[in-house]
Symmetry: C2
Subunit: 134 residues, 2 copies
């Protein structure tokens, strides 16, 4: 069994735990481009991937506009040299940003380690007090 060819809005909403309002909003922002059967939206696998990317972006604090950029990095626009140059620049920008975030995460993780250590120490001392409290 190969992958599904199309998805309904509710289906995607359930899968990614967002509201249908949110999905329609992303379309409004030009991030998703479902086709229609009558009134009803029908989403392609590419739309699904785009949605995934948007949500991943959100977890990293990206704006929808930024995620839009990322999505467009994937659409082979049959470009000219100008655009390809700009593309490579954008990629480089994002790379720099991600690298900064990686560093930030490392520092925070160390901070958390230290905080946990202090908390555990404090707990230990509480227990000591207690045993001498009997």
């Amino acid at each position: 069994m190969t992958l599904k060819q199309s998805y309904g809005i509710g289906e995607l909403a359930r899968e990614f735990d967002v509201t249908t309002r949110t999905i329609r909003f992303y379309e409004d922002q030009g991030l998703l481009t479902p086709r229609r059967r009558g009134q009803t939206r029908i989403y392609s696998p590419a739309d699904r991937v785009a949605l995934k990317l948007i949500l991943r972006g959100k977890r990293l604090g990206f704006s929808l506009a930024e995620s839009g950029d990322l999505i467009r990095l994937y659409q082979p626009t049959g470009d000219n040299r100008q655009q390809l140059g700009a593309l490579l620049e954008k990629i480089d920008e994002k790379r720099t940003q991600l690298e900064q975030q990686r560093v930030d995460i490392q520092i925070m993780q160390q901070d958390l380690d230290a905080a946990e250590e202090r908390a555990r120490q404090a707990l230990k001392e509480l227990e000591n007090k207690e045993s001498s409290d009997v």
Copy 2:
């Protein structure tokens, strides 16, 4: 020469490239607690560290409330067991979140690699066309 003992608001604003409005806003939210000399705010090294943490949090998409949590992880509240337990839980939560972000970053970096590769290929093909265009 040891570190500075206090900072002015403009000084911090310049160092971290934020406006004084922003710094005052963070105080309003309870994230910074400068003392006063008359009307004027005077920031301690601890305030400066907190500010640093807030901005790092922002780069990772944390809300100010979340960064507030992180700051409080540092303030030894002379806690009871209840609070220490809650503290350890929060630390664990944050750890999980950071771990997810780490994964997200890795995926995005791979995506960028792929996108760059495609862009470079497209450039190559443009050049080929050109040389056969003469």
